[in-house]
């Protein structure tokens, strides 16, 4: 017997749950907005500027020793975190972070950032001893670039959303486009809220993850919409409420299977992909779950709310890769 995540020929009325879903989504959106405004995102150095130095930490050097040599060199808060090495011979790791440094004299802010980074690594080298000193990674981002990176990230998200909306209006109808974009905003805001809540670092890779979530959620939504369009054409007299339910039921098995395989792949990144990919895969896992939910309860519900044009000749159809159905 083969695995079935969803029984055949179901008639679950998803759309009668839409008001409950509306309450859940609104509450989650409100919570995200509150988290984002009060706690805020833990911006990584890509967006906030500053420096992160990750070194191997010998057993005889404590985090406090590191703090003691770094703090006098830095204006503002210094974070020192130690992490146990994974694996049999893996050394322990110390991660030193500090914020962008104010310029002294006629330095530019970028110069100040550089000087501080160099001074800190020189001090650490001296503390640990040149022969044992191993930099695992080091990054220092000046205020100029971090601002640009943040802006380009936001622009990327906006442009992608806009283009997708145009594509959907072109291939379907504008009601579908609005539904899809509502779902995407929902997913992006909830994911960002989740980042604020958990304090996972929000960086360039997270923006990449958000865009992928947008792509995935859109993918999922389009599959449902495609079926709505098909069923609406097949059962011209059936009320839209039932058509949408029919489409969701018909695609539910696929939805669960695809989410399942994608989540399996993502879980393996999250668990085995090492610390660098953890934040990104966390965002993706959360986004896939939220994106699957939103295709049904946000995107489809909005289409139901707006209604679709069910004339005999659909106006916005284009020739091309239209299926037979």
């Amino acid at each position: 017997m083969l695995l079935r995540l969803w029984p055949e020929k179901t008639k679950v009325s998803f759309m009668s749950l839409r008001f409950i879903a509306l309450i859940i989504s609104s509450a989650a959106l409100a919570a995200s907005a509150i988290m984002l405004t009060t706690k805020g995102l833990n911006l990584g150095i890509d967006f906030a500027g500053g420096a992160v130095i990750e070194i191997e930490q010998p057993d005889d050097i404590s985090a406090q020793d590191i703090r003691d040599v770094v703090e006098p060199l830095i204006i503002g808060e210094v974070q020192v975190n130690s992490a146990r090495g994974t694996g049999p011979n893996a050394p322990n790791i110390a991660i030193v972070r500090f914020k962008p440094q104010p310029p002294v004299g006629d330095e530019t802010p970028d110069d100040a950032q550089n000087r501080a980074g160099d001074e800190v690594s020189a001090a650490l080298r001296e503390l640990i001893g040149a022969e044992r000193f191993q930099i695992r990674s080091e990054a220092s981002v000046g205020p100029k670039v971090s601002g640009e990176l943040f802006r380009s990230g936001i622009i990327a998200l906006t442009v992608a959303l806009g283009l997708m909306m145009v594509y959907i209006s072109f291939r379907f109808q504008w009601q579908y486009a609005l539904g899809a974009v509502a779902a995407l905003f929902h997913d992006v805001i909830l994911t960002m809220g989740m980042f604020a809540l958990t304090g996972f670092e929000f960086n360039l890779a997270t923006i990449a993850a958000l865009l992928t979530i947008v792509g995935y959620s859109m993918n999922d939504t389009v599959i449902v919409f495609d079926r709505v369009r098909e069923e609406a054409r097949k059962y011209k007299k059936l009320e839209l409420f039932k058509v949408v339910d029919l489409a969701i039921n018909a695609t539910m098995s696929r939805t669960l299977l695809t989410s399942g395989t994608t989540l399996l792949a993502l879980l393996s990144i999250f668990l085995f992909g090492g610390p660098v990919l953890r934040g990104m895969s966390f965002a993706l896992i959360f986004g896939v779950i939220v994106g699957t939910y939103s295709s049904i309860f946000v995107a489809s519900a909005v289409v139901l709310l707006l209604g679709i044009d069910r004339g005999d000749k659909p106006k916005r159809e284009v020739e091309g890769f239209q299926g037979v159905g």
Partner: protein, 557 residues
């Protein structure tokens, strides 16, 4: 949908083979193929070096049937330094204007004399006062326009000449000249940076322009960003000045803070401060070559040779000044201030200092590469050590294997034999992705590996959509052949719409993303293309083959 004419089959096989061939070189290390460049034990033995190079070439030739393109690993995977640098266009303009000051002075002083006060430069704006504006203004403007230089290979003129008030002329650098200067400086600086970082031209560093005033340096395998920044942070302005080591004169200048107008006080590497002539005798442009050598006491030093005109000039200078001192000044610091014991012919000069070998090599590279036209600002710097890179590769491949295995098991559990076909096409998908990445010479980054794993998860989507349709059609009582036919036909529009939208997201990511994120976008985009191909063509082909050979009454799914 079930028709596979011979040309279609041929095409599928060609595409898959092509992907496999492009992907194959990644399975072998250079060491395995015997083409890994090694250090020759005695680099000075030219015969041995030539023999080794010949051997390496022959080893490479013996693998002629393998494509040479291998996946480039990003800096986050192989370790190295990434540096984003910027030059300030206003600073370049100001520096350039300063260099034409002497031309301006001589143009205005030529007969008939146009009287004026010395020009005053304020950043990139030069103000000249004309004492007899009624008579000389027009002539002065004409002369200034005549000496207006053009920038680089463009026809853009450096400054605009404008009369301001009754007796002033103002030279400004217009916006188009600034852009031309920045582009020109960017190209020059990339060359200087390369010569400084990699004087022997052996390292695999990449120096690329970004915008019109930024430069990106990527140095794989380099673990010390500080050294690179030190080498690039110096302007590299080298001058030879006559020096005054008279202690009482120096002390007087230090106390008053005001040396004589002809002299300036500079720090000396040897001891405290010394006085040097304001106007240099020779500059870095007069140097033909520089390299690391050893002094008489066998300490590392920097030797350089002047070009022939400068060598004559230097000979005359030393002949006329026996007994006095000259200083070799780098960026306002005297490196060495020897006493001239006898005239020095030939133009060979040595800078002695207590250098380490590495310091002497870097210094020689800086001197030979020449002066940077403007200061480099370091905006973004990232270093990944070799251990972290290796760990990331290990973690990435472990995650891919596990992800692939999980997805494969899941598909077979859900769709049985046909699910197995999907797994087969998933494997060919991965081969195609790796082949395409190698073929394009794209760079694989850690987020790129995540992109591949995500594609593994999402690639089955197209298969799943089709299979679900086939299940439905079969449940409606259709035969396997018609169910498969209908399943593929009906799934097409959904699959294309869904993947085009994701492709839009990947393209935007590629356009605005940088570094690792760009790598992620590339693998995602390639993955979308290959997964639609493998799901829609390869799986279908497998299924049709199965249908024809086994003629099942019913598909178990």
């Amino acid at each position: 949908m079930l028709n596979f004419p011979i040309w279609k089959v041929g095409l599928i096989v060609v595409v898959l083979l092509w992907g496999a061939i492009l992907a194959v070189p990644n399975m072998f290390s250079d060491g395995f193929l015997g083409i890994e460049p090694k250090e020759v034990s005695d680099p000075t033995n030219e015969v041995a070096v030539a023999a080794y190079e010949q051997q390496l070439r022959e080893a490479e030739d013996s693998w002629w049937f393998l494509p040479s393109g291998k996946l480039n690993l990003g800096l986050d995977l192989q370790g190295g330094v990434y540096l984003l640098m910027e030059i300030d266009p206003a600073e370049i303009a100001a520096n350039r204007l300063e260099t034409v000051q002497s031309d301006i002075r001589s143009a205005l002083n030529r007969n008939p004399l146009v009287e004026r006060n010395p020009p005053v430069q304020n950043e990139d704006r030069l103000t000249i006062e004309i004492l007899n504006p009624e008579e000389d203004m027009d002539e002065a403007i004409r002369r200034l326009n005549r000496i207006n230089p053009t920038i680089g290979t463009t026809q853009t003129e450096l400054f605009r000449v404008q009369q301001t008030g009754d007796q002033f002329i103002q030279l400004t650098v217009p916006a188009n000249a600034r852009t031309a200067l920045a582009t020109d400086a960017q190209a020059k600086m990339m060359e200087i940076i390369r010569r400084r970082i990699d004087p022997d031209g052996v390292a695999e560093i990449s120096i690329t322009p970004q915008g019109d005033n930024r430069i990106i340096l990527e140095a794989p395998g380099e673990a010390d960003p500080k050294r690179i920044k030190d080498i690039l942070g110096q302007a590299g302005r080298l001058t030879f000045n006559m020096a005054n080591l008279d202690q009482s004169a120096i002390r007087a200048a230090v106390v008053s803070g005001r040396p004589s107008p002809r002299e300036v006080l500079v720090d000396s590497m040897e001891a405290g401060q010394i006085l040097i002539n304001r106007i240099p005798e020779l500059t870095g442009a007069d140097i033909a070559t520089a390299n690391r050598c050893f002094d008489e006491a066998n300490f590392p030093a920097v030797c350089f040779r002047l070009n022939s005109t400068a060598a004559t000039k230097f000979y005359n200078l030393t002949r006329n000044n026996v007994g006095r001192n000259f200083a070799i000044v780098l960026d306002g610091v005297s490196m060495s201030s020897p006493t001239i014991r006898s005239p020095i012919p030939g133009g060979n000069v040595i800078i002695e200092g207590r250098f380490t070998i590495e310091e002497a090599e870097d210094l020689a590279a800086i001197i030979e590469a020449g002066e940077l036209p403007a200061k480099l600002n370091f905006l973004d710097e990232r270093t990944v050590g070799p251990t972290l890179g290796a760990e990331s590769i290990a973690a990435g491949s472990r995650a891919s294997m596990i992800g692939l295995a999980l997805v494969g098991v899941f598909m077979v559990l859900a769709y049985g034999l046909i699910g197995g076909f999907a797994v087969g096409s998933l494997l060919s998908n991965i081969v195609l992705i790796i082949g395409a990445l190698s073929g394009f010479g794209a760079t694989l980054t850690l987020p790129g590996i995540a992109g591949i794993i995500l594609t593994i998860g999402m690639a089955v989507d197209a298969n799943v959509i089709v299979f679900e349709r086939i299940r439905e059609e079969q449940a409606n009582g259709r035969s396997p052949a018609t169910a498969i036919q209908a399943g593929y036909e009906r799934a097409l529009s959904a699959i294309l719409d869904a993947n085009i939208t994701t492709f839009i997201a990947a393209s935007i990511l590629y356009l605005v993303g940088s570094g690792p994120v760009k790598g992620f976008a590339v693998t995602l985009a390639i993955g979308i293309l290959t997964s639609v191909f493998t799901a829609f063509v390869v799986t279908r082909w497998f299924t049709v083959l199965y249908l024809r050979t086994m003629r099942p009454k019913r598909l178990a799914m």
